[in-house]
C-alpha cells in the first residue's frame, strides 16, 4: 500500500515540484516564501480549472482544443454585458459565464456524439469559430479596465481567509471533481468509456453520451474561467489566452493523464498545472534569457512525460494468477 503510494505518479510529480522549488530557491530564495507560493497558486488557478475539464475530456479518449477560445468568447461577452449593464450583480455574471461556456461545450459534445466527427477536428473548428465570433461581436475592439465596473473586477481578487476568491474557486473545483470522478456513475463511466469503449458499451455505458457530458463540463469550466480571466487582467480582446489550450493539454499530460484515454486523476491534473505554473512564475525571476525560457518550458514537459511513461510501463499483465503459480 505504502509502496504503491510513493511510486504513484502523483507522488513522483509532487517530488519533482518540490525539487524544482528547491532549485529555484537556490537562485531566488524569496520565491518559496509562503506569500509568494500563494500568489503562484493564484496565478495558476485558471490553468487548474481548465486542466480539470480537459482531463475529463481526455479520459473519454477525446481532446478539447477550444477551451481557450471558449474562455475568450465568454470573457468578452460578460465584459460587454458588464459595460452595458454595470449594475448587474456578479452572481448573475457568473451564471451567464457558466451557462455560455456550457452551451459551447455542448456544441462540441453534440458534434462528437451525434455526428461522430473526430474530437480534434471538431474542437479545432469550434476554436476558430469562437475566436471569429469574438471578433464579430466586439468589432475587434478592446473592453478596457475603466469601462468595467469595480465590482466586476473585484470579485476574483477579494480575499477570503487569506487567499483570493480565484484560488478558492480552484480549490473548490479540485475537491468537487475529485468526488465526481471517483464516487459518481458519470465519473466511473468516463474512465470506462476511455479505457475500453467496447467493454464499456457491453457494460451498458453510452460512450457517446459520456463524451458529450465530458465536453459540457469542460465548457462550463472554461466559461467560468473566462469571467475570472477577464476580470483578473481587467481587459478583454480577441486574442486573450491565445495558445493557452496547449498549456492546458500540457498540464494534463504532465499530470499523467494518458492521451489514449482511461487513465488520469484530478490530483494529477492539479499537480501538472502547478508544475507548469511554478515554471512560468519562476522563469521571470531567475533571470534567464527569453530565448532559453521557451526551450526550458518545452524540455520540462518532455522530461515529465518521459518519466511518466516509464513509470507507467507495465511488464505485461497477469490475468490468471493461479495459472502462473501452477506453471
Amino acid at each position: 500500500m505504502f509502496r504503491r503510494l510513493i511510486t504513484s505518479r502523483e507522488a513522483l510529480l509532487l517530488a519533482a515540484i518540490t525539487l524544482l522549488l528547491g532549485l529555484i530557491s537556490l537562485r531566488f530564495p524569496s520565491f518559496v516564501a509562503p506569500a509568494n507560493l500563494a500568489s503562484v497558486f493564484n496565478d495558476t488557478s485558471p490553468l487548474i480549472l481548465l486542466a480539470i475539464g480537459q482531463m475529463i475530456v481526455i479520459l473519454t479518449k477525446c481532446i478539447d482544443l477550444s477551451v481557450a477560445a471558449n474562455l475568450a468568447l465568454t470573457g468578452m461577452v460578460v465584459a460587454m454585458i458588464n459595460v452595458a449593464f454595470p449594475n448587474l450583480p456578479i452572481a448573475f455574471i457568473l451564471v451567464i459565464a457558466v451557462m455560455l461556456g456550457t452551451l459551447m461545450g455542448m456544441v462540441n459534445g453534440l458534434l462528437v456524439w451525434k455526428l461522430d466527427i473526430p474530437p480534434i477536428v471538431v474542437t479545432l473548428g469550434t476554436m476558430t469559430i469562437f475566436r471569429g465570433i469574438i471578433f464579430l461581436i466586439s468589432d475587434g475592439k478592446w473592453v478596457n479596465s475603466h469601462e468595467m465596473s469595480p465590482a466586476f473586477k473585484a470579485f476574483p481578487r477579494a480575499a477570503l481567509l487569506g487567499l483570493p476568491v480565484l484560488s478558492w474557486i480552484a480549490i473548490f473545483a479540485v475537491l468537487v471533481f475529485t468526488v465526481v470522478m471517483t464516487r459518481t456513475t458519470f465519473g466511473r463511466a468516463a474512465y470506462a468509456a476511455g479505457g475500453n469503449s467496447h467493454a464499456a458499451t457491453y457494460a451498458g455505458i453510452n460512450v457517446g453520451r459520456t463524451q458529450f457530458y465530458a465536453f459540457t463540463l469542460s465548457g462550463a469550466l472554461a466559461g467560468l474561467t473566462g469571467y475570472l480571466w477577464v476580470s483578473r487582467y481587467a481587459v478583454a480582446y480577441v486574442d486573450i489566452a491565445g495558445g493557452f489550450e496547449l498549456d492546458v493539454v500540457a498540464a494534463c499530460v504532465i499530470g499523467g493523464v494518458a492521451i489514449t484515454g482511461g487513465i488520469g486523476t484530478v490530483g494529477g491534473a492539479l499537480l501538472g498545472a502547478l508544475f507548469l505554473g511554478v515554471i512560468k512564475n519562476a522563469l521571470p525571476v531567475v533571470n534567464i534569457s527569453p530565448f532559453w525560457q521557451l526551450a526550458i518550458s518545452g524540455a520540462a514537459i518532455i522530461i515529465a512525460v518521459t518519466l511518466n511513461a516509464r513509470a507507467n510501463r507495465r511488464k505485461g499483465r497477469i490475468i490468471l494468477k493461479s495459472a502462473e503459480q501452477a506453471a
Binding site: D43, N144, S145, R157, W229, K280, L283, P284
Partner: protein, 333 residues
C-alpha cells in the same frame, strides 16, 4: 420632338453651368481630401478634426474627409478614383496597403493632384512625401523621458517589451540606449518580454517587482504590455510607488491613469497628425514647398518637417497623455 430637343439642351446647359460653377469653386477654394483607412474609427475622426482646424487657420481650404467603410485597399482605390473625377487639389491618405494603391495614386499625380501619405505609408513611387507620426529616435527618447521626468533624483527602471524578436520594439530600445547619457541617475536594471500576451506580461511585471524591490518605473513600449503591467502594479498595491509608462492608447490606459499605476504615457496625437498632413498638403499643392529629399515643409503650429532620402519625415515627439487630458482622449481612440 422639338420640345424634347429643348429639354435636352436645357439639361446640357444645366450640366455645363454646374461644371463651370464647380471649376469656379475649385479656383476659389483649395480642396484637400483626407482619405482614411475606414470611416467610423475614432482615431481618424480625430485626425479629421485636426484637418478642419488647419483648414480654419489657412482659410479658403475645404476638407473632404472620406474613406471606405471597411479597411480594404479596393475600397480606397474606389475613393481615390472618385476624388480624381472630382479633380481635388490634394489627397492625403493613410493607406490600407502600401503597394496596391500605387497605380491609382500615380494616376492622380499625373492629373496634377498633390499626393501625400500619412500615418500608414504608400510606396515611394505612389506619393510625393510621407508623414510619419514620429520617428524611432524620438520614440526611444520619449519612453525614457517619460520615466525620468517623474524621477528627479534618478532611480531604477525596467523594460517590458513584446517579443524578444519584435523589430520595432528592439529599435526603440536601441534608440533609448543611445540617449541614456542624457538621463543621469536612471538605471535600466532589466529587460523582460511579455510576448504581447496579457497573462505573460502580467507575470513578467510581477517578476520584475519581486527581483527588483527598489524598482521605480516599468517602461512598456507595447499596448498589451503597458496595460498588463499597470494591472499587476495596481494588484500588488504599488500604485504610485512604481510608475508604469511607455506607449499605449488612451482608451486602454484610462483605468491605469485613474488608479495611479501610470502617471503618464505617450502615443501620437491623431489631431496633430490630421492638422500637419493638411498643412503639408496645402503647402505642396499651392507650390509654397517642394517634396524633395532634404527639403523643409512648414506645418503651422507643429513646426516643420524635414524630408529624408525616401521623402518621408517625422512629425513630432509622441504626445504625452496624463490625468489632465485622458478624459478628453479616452473616447477618441
Amino acid at each position: 420632338m422639338i420640345r424634347f430637343k429643348t429639354l435636352k439642351l436645357a439639361a446640357g446647359l444645366l450640366l455645363a453651368s454646374g461644371l463651370f460653377a464647380n471649376t469656379a469653386f475649385a479656383q476659389d477654394n483649395m480642396r484637400i481630401a483626407l482619405v482614411v483607412k475606414a470611416l467610423g474609427i475614432g482615431f481618424f475622426e480625430a485626425a479629421a478634426k485636426g484637418a478642419e482646424e488647419a483648414a480654419g487657420e489657412l482659410g479658403n481650404v475645404e476638407i473632404i474627409y472620406t474613406g471606405p467603410t471597411d479597411t480594404t485597399a479596393e475600397g480606397q482605390i474606389e475613393v481615390i478614383n472618385s476624388l480624381i473625377a472630382q479633380n481635388v487639389d490634394a489627397i492625403a491618405i493613410s493607406a490600407n496597403d502600401p503597394d496596391a494603391l500605387v497605380p491609382a495614386l500615380k494616376k492622380a499625380m499625373q492629373r496634377g493632384i498633390t499626393v501625400i501619405s500619412w500615418d500608414s505609408g504608400v510606396a515611394e513611387e505612389g506619393r510625393q512625401m510621407h508623414l510619419n507620426p514620429s520617428s524611432n529616435s524620438l520614440i526611444g527618447n520619449m519612453i525614457i523621458k517619460l520615466a525620468a521626468d517623474h524621477l528627479p533624483d534618478g532611480g531604477q527602471v525596467a523594460l517590458l517589451s513584446a517579443t524578444a524578436t519584435a523589430t520595432n520594439q528592439n529599435i526603440w530600445i536601441e534608440e533609448m540606449n543611445k540617449v541614456m547619457g542624457d538621463y543621469p541617475g536612471i538605471e535600466v536594471v532589466a529587460t523582460v518580454y511579455g510576448d504581447d500576451l496579457a497573462d505573460k506580461s502580467y507575470r513578467e511585471a510581477q517578476g520584475l517587482m519581486q527581483s527588483h524591490p527598489d524598482l521605480d518605473a516599468i517602461i512598456a513600449p507595447t499596448s498589451v504590455g503597458i496595460v498588463a503591467a499597470a494591472q499587476a502594479v495596481d494588484d500588488a498595491g504599488k500604485s504610485g510607488e512604481i510608475n508604469v509608462t511607455g506607449l499605449g492608447l488612451p482608451s486602454e490606459m484610462a483605468g491605469a491613469i485613474e488608479s495611479g499605476a501610470s502617471k503618464s504615457f505617450a502615443i501620437w496625437n491623431p489631431i496633430d497628425l490630421g492638422y500637419s498632413a493638411t498643412m503639408i498638403a496645402h503647402a505642396l499643392a499651392s507650390g509654397d514647398a517642394k517634396a524633395e529629399a532634404g527639403s523643409e515643409i512648414p506645418m503651422g503650429r507643429m513646426g516643420s518637417v524635414t524630408l529624408d532620402d525616401t521623402t518621408s519625415g517625422a512629425m513630432a515627439d509622441p504626445f504625452v497623455y496624463d490625468s489632465s487630458n485622458i478624459d478628453e482622449f479616452k473616447t477618441i481612440f
